[in-house]
């Protein structure tokens, strides 16, 4: 864990993972003795598919449960929270971006962003103003058009806007460029980095695409964390 150990351990605003252990049903395991991401730091989680990159993101977001260990975000162990508490914490502190965007059909671009802000606990008036500002920063021309009417590039921007509009302390992007060509992938990753920087959030991006490495100063191979061989 040479990369992880070089990080600043005193920063409680970032992400602190210790003694994390996750067992897949298939028998694979993911073990992370220690991993720290500082507030505002950008990290690329590299590794082949199936190495556990997405699982780690899901664990950080609290949508999967570890069998042991802690994940502290702003000092709060998200794995120690249960039920609605954990969901609320996630809504307020973590923004997520997906490969297929996971925007909600039937809603406008503005509504997709407002929905995230509503679930993060913002009042109706704040929802609107924040969503509008986030979308305009990301150059969404028509925030009132239904999401399915937007181009893929615009949809990606809406997905980014949704992740950062609530000013989370952590942004997690799971293979955000996997369905884009290399040129667009670079544009997208810069967009995500810029949005995270503007929000002051720690950013963790997973990708199996080697061409993204040059966009990051800190790159962590997931295989570095954990033995990927099965324990049978």
């Amino acid at each position: 864990m040479k990369v992880a150990s070089s990080a600043q351990t005193s920063d409680t605003l970032g992400i602190d993972i210790s003694g994390l252990h996750f067992a897949y049903r298939r028998g694979f395991q993911l073990s992370i003795p220690y991993f720290h991401v500082a507030s505002g730091e950008h990290v690329l989680l590299a590794g082949s598919s199936g190495s556990g990159k997405s699982t780690l993101l899901h664990l950080i977001a609290g949508i999967d449960d570890a069998s042991a260990g802690e994940i502290r975000i702003r000092g709060t162990n998200i794995l120690g929270l249960h039920g609605a508490q954990r969901d609320t914490f996630r809504g307020k502190n973590i923004g997520m971006i997906f490969q297929t965007f996971n925007l909600l059909q039937g809603f406008t671009a503005l509504e997709n962003v407002m929905m995230a802000l509503m679930l993060a606990g913002y009042s109706s008036s704040q929802q609107r103003s924040r969503a509008e500002s986030a979308l305009s920063k990301l150059a969404i021309a028509d925030p009132h058009s239904p999401i399915e009417m937007l181009s893929v590039g615009q949809q990606q921007r809406v997905a980014v806007a949704r992740a950062v509009a609530g000013e989370p302390c952590v942004v997690l992007a799971d293979e955000p460029t996997a369905s884009l060509d290399p040129a667009n992938a670079r544009v997208a990753i810069e967009l995500i980095k810029e949005a995270a920087r503007a929000a002051g959030a720690a950013l963790i991006v997973t990708s199996h695409d080697p061409s993204l490495r040059e966009a990051f100063t800190r790159i962590v191979e997931v295989s570095q964390f954990a033995p990927t061989e099965a324990v049978r």
């Binding site: 949508i63 609320t88 490969q99 297929t100 929905m115 995230a116 679930l119």
Partner: protein, 441 residues
């Protein structure tokens, strides 16, 4: 943005499925409401019309038939009551009134009741609500007629018009033998009473007796001529002469009637008399007549009909339950799409209970919209059904829906719809978030 918008959008995204399920609930609610309103209205319509009479004497086969024929104009009574019997009954007790009636003629399918002016002045089709005139007045002389509101509007009758009755009742509008020699003058039009009497026309007994006396004498004369003609082949010209009958010519044999409406004296403000049972028992011993307590007979009829319409109500409830099941099926069928939405909402910070509540809200909303549409549908449907009933059966059924039972049915639909949402809600609640965020393979 709020949860209700999320639910509404979810319904809109699945517009076709949502519309179909809403329509199913609406139809079920409407069906239930119409059946309930008709059930209530039909029994009301039957309770109206017997009015303030205590006993009905007829020569029909049973008391119920007597009431249906004599007060609801179901058929022309087949058996007459003789004048002597009327006099005997009338004088046997100090009745408040004893009104003779005779049914048998019709005007374009509407029954004609021959009676005395007391029928229009003393008999009240609904207790406490005597007949009122929309125009004109009661008949006072021979060959004058007063039309019930519905009969008047159906045939476009107005005061001063001359009309001709035909012998016999029944469906055919121009059927039967026409009493063309004796046109009647319309002298009054009644206001609606909400009873079967609205369909009828009213005239005096003497006019009817005269017409039928002439008919009988003409028939007798014709038969005589035909008998003579067979004997006498020389072929004398026996011109058919019209038999003219005056009131004074009427014999007791001509003075037939089909019903006697009786009311016992009561204390002012009371509709009951302690002697009804005693008089009923006394008259019942006379084997030549049938005596009925109309209100009781109608109660008995409603008890019989009641069993059948419970069956209809049960069917409507089944339809309502199946519409709730269809809500559940539609929601479960769309579960794959729904799970993706649920997973996204969960990632954005919605709790499992919140997505549970969203599913329940969605199914409840389908129930609510369906119930409201169903109520409107029922109001329209009742109006149509009551029109058809009035035309076909002739009972005036006001298609009003009791607000309390309507509220109960609508609430029932909403509750059932909410229950229908439970299984989809549980599935939403249990949706594994991480798995449903992955790209669709």
């Amino acid at each position: 943005m709020n949860d209700m918008i999320i639910v509404l959008r979810s319904l809109r995204v699945r517009l076709l499925a949502s519309s179909v399920t809403v329509a199913m609930v609406a139809i079920a609610v409407a069906l239930l409401l119409v059946l309930m309103s008709l059930r209530e209205a039909a029994s009301q319509a039957f309770r109206r019309g017997t009015g303030n009479i205590h006993l009905l004497v007829s020569a029909d086969a049973s008391p119920l038939v007597g009431v249906l024929n004599g007060l609801f104009y179901a058929n022309a009574p087949a058996n007459p009551i003789a004048w002597g019997k009327y006099e005997e009954i009338k004088n046997s007790f100090p009745w408040q009134w004893a009104i003779p009636t005779q049914l048998g003629d019709s005007f374009r399918g509407s029954p004609v009741m021959a009676t005395t002016p007391e029928f229009l002045s003393n008999f009240e089709p609904v207790s406490g609500q005597p007949f009122q005139y929309a125009s004109g007045k009661s008949f006072a002389e021979d060959f004058q007629v007063v039309a019930g509101s519905q009969a008047a509007s159906e045939h476009g009758l107005s005061v001063g018009q001359k009309i001709v009755f035909s012998h016999g009742t029944g469906g055919s509008r121009e059927g039967g033998h026409q009493h063309a020699d004796h046109p009647y003058e319309v002298v009054g039009i009644l206001k609606p009473t909400g009873s079967a009497h609205d369909r009828a026309l009213f005239t005096n007994l003497q006019s009817t007796w005269i017409i039928h006396a002439e008919d009988r004498r003409e028939n007798a004369a014709r038969a005589e001529h035909e008998a003579e003609a067979e004997e006498d082949h020389a072929g004398h010209d026996h011109a058919h002469e019209h038999e003219h009958v005056e009131a004074a010519d009427l014999t007791d044999a001509d003075k037939l009637m089909t019903g006697i409406l009786l009311r016992l004296p009561t204390r002012p403000g009371s509709d009951a008399s302690a002697s009804i049972a005693a008089q009923f028992d006394r008259l019942r011993r006379d084997m030549a007549i049938t005596v009925a307590q109309p209100a009781q007979q109608i109660g008995r009829l409603m008890a019989i009909v009641g069993d059948i319409d419970w069956l209809f109500l049960a069917m409507a409830v089944v339809v309502l339950v199946s519409s709730a099941i269809s809500i559940m099926l539609a929601m479960v069928a769309s579960m794959e799409l729904r799970r993706r939405q649920v997973a996204v909402l969960r990632v954005l910070g919605a709790s499992a209970w919140r997505v549970f509540a969203l599913a329940i809200t969605e199914s409840t909303l389908i129930g609510l919209i369906g119930a409201i549409l169903g109520a409107f549908l029922a109001i329209g449907g009742s109006a149509i059904a009551s029109t058809i009933l009035a035309q076909r059966i002739g009972i005036t059924v006001a298609g009003t829906i009791d607000p309390r039972s309507a509220a109960l049915v609508m609430a029932g639909a909403v509750v059932l719809a909410a229950l229908a949402g439970i299984i989809p809600a549980i599935k939403s609640y249990r949706t594994p978030v991480a798995r449903h965020l992955r790209p669709i393979a």
